[in-house]
């Protein structure tokens, strides 16, 4: 009974931090989604022009690497901006692990949403390439999951420092 209540409370905390991470930084998040989606769109576009598959050719791999780079830089920036709020939450008793996990979900949400919009746009401009797109979908999702890692690491590490250590680095 007690653990069930504890779990419900924990799930609520995660839900709260995640929805607020998405809701409270509207402009920043929109910019992030636009950046991720345009990088995905151009990668798909170029891959199709060069007639190579994203997930099974050298050119494809370098395009994927590029997408991952753009996304991880973007998501890292988002994570950096969210730090101040997360530190306040820490003072109020939210434990660092819960906060980092929730922020990771925020980053994944942004990455996957961006990638989906990029794919949808690509499909709109060339409706016949559904099969080509489906071939690459898995690799794109993997890239976005990977791209959320640096931001997550930043948050987890920062929340595991004391406030003064952080202000010294600021």
């Amino acid at each position: 009974m007690k653990t069930a209540k504890g779990l419900a409370g924990w799930v609520y905390s995660v839900k709260w931090i995640t929805t607020h991470g998405i809701r409270d930084f509207r402009k920043l998040n929109v910019v992030a989604i636009v950046l991720v989606s345009s990088s995905v769109f151009f990668a798909l576009y170029l891959a199709q022009k060069m007639n190579c598959s994203l997930s099974s050719s050298l050119e494809g791999f370098s395009l994927l690497a590029l997408i991952t780079l753009v996304s991880s830089l973007t998501l890292h920036h988002v994570a950096e901006k969210s730090l101040k709020n997360l530190l306040v939450l820490k003072v109020l008793g939210f434990d660092p692990l819960t906060s980092s996990f929730s922020q990771w979900l925020v980053l994944i949400f942004l990455g996957i949403t961006g990638a989906s919009i990029g794919c949808a746009t690509f499909l709109l401009q060339s409706p016949s390439s559904l099969k080509f797109l489906l071939d690459s979908a898995f690799a794109l999702v993997a890239c976005e999951l990977l791209a959320a890692v640096p931001g997550f690491v930043l948050v987890a590490r920062s929340l595991n420092k004391s406030l003064a250590e952080l202000s010294e680095n600021a």
């Binding site: 209540k5 504890g6 419900a8 409370g9 924990w10 609520y12 905390s13 709260w16 607020h20 409270d24 709020n85 530190l87 306040v88 939450l89 820490k90 003072v91 109020l92 008793g93 939210f94 434990d95 660092p96 692990l97 929340l159 595991n160 420092k161 004391s162 406030l163 003064a164 250590e165 010294e168």
Partner: protein
């Protein structure tokens, strides 16, 4: 029968290191805080009040020495354990207030309850009660951005009180308040101490709060600064 201290600082030293300076804030600071204490820490700007509060709340670590809370040395705890300890024992109001500006008064005050997994209906009850006590009930729906500094200060105090913690750590709670509200907050804190038996640790730069305290700690601005190039063991010299 003498009670056991709820918080003990033993030989605490705090040194800040910047690129070209080493700043010694305290050395050999020892302090016992008992459950029925109303401790007021005074001192001029820069005397180390905020630093001391952060160390007591486990938000900052001393350079050396021990900080025992309920007998546990918190300087050795992980950040996760610290946040659990804070959640259980302390209500904190930082000098920088650290409210989330996009949220309403109500949502800000609700946060510590969410962190503690309090169910929704109970949360609403507790938030409303504390807003009522502090006189902000009519402003619960307002966003923090739309409040005066004084009102924000009150929200920050309400947020520290909402979980009904045994220890209250308040850094300059009356800093932005007008004289009337200051009086009100002082009498509120006094009531919490006298009637509800809370341990209060409060900093201030004014006399008023010190007058109602059971214990006053006066910090002096006596920090030594010396170039980082010099060895720490070298005799420090005063900056002024």
């Amino acid at each position: 029968m003498p009670e056991k201290p709820i918080i003990r600082l033993i030989d605490v030293e705090k040194v800040y290191r910047t690129e070209d300076e080493v700043i010694l804030i305290f050395n050999g600071l020892s302090l016992d805080i008992y459950p029925n204490d109303f401790l007021v820490i005074t001192g001029s700007t820069g005397s180390g009040k905020t630093t001391l509060m952060n160390i007591i709340a486990g938000l900052d670590r001393p350079s050396s020495g021990m900080v025992l809370v309920n007998g546990v040395d918190i300087t050795k705890l992980s950040e996760d354990k610290l946040s659990r300890l804070r959640a259980k024992l302390m209500g904190i109001s930082l000098q920088s207030q650290s409210l989330l500006p996009n949220l309403t008064v109500y949502e800000n005050v609700e946060l510590p309850l969410i962190a503690r997994g309090v169910p929704p209906r109970k949360r609403a009850e507790m938030v409303e009660q504390v807003l009522d006590v502090i006189g902000l009930l009519g402003k619960g729906y307002r966003r923090i951005e739309r409040l005066s500094f004084g009102e924000r200060q009150c929200v920050s105090i309400a947020r520290a009180l909402v979980t009904d913690p045994p220890i209250l750590v308040l850094d300059e709670p009356t800093q932005h308040l007008d004289p009337m509200t200051t009086e009100f907050i002082i009498s509120l804190l006094r009531g919490l101490h006298m009637r509800k038996g809370k341990t209060l640790i409060v900093t201030t730069r004014t006399r008023k709060l010190a007058d109602v305290a059971t214990k006053v700690l006066q910090l002096r601005k006596r920090s030594f600064r010396y170039p980082a190039s010099e060895d720490r063991a070298a005799s420090p010299r005063l900056s002024e």
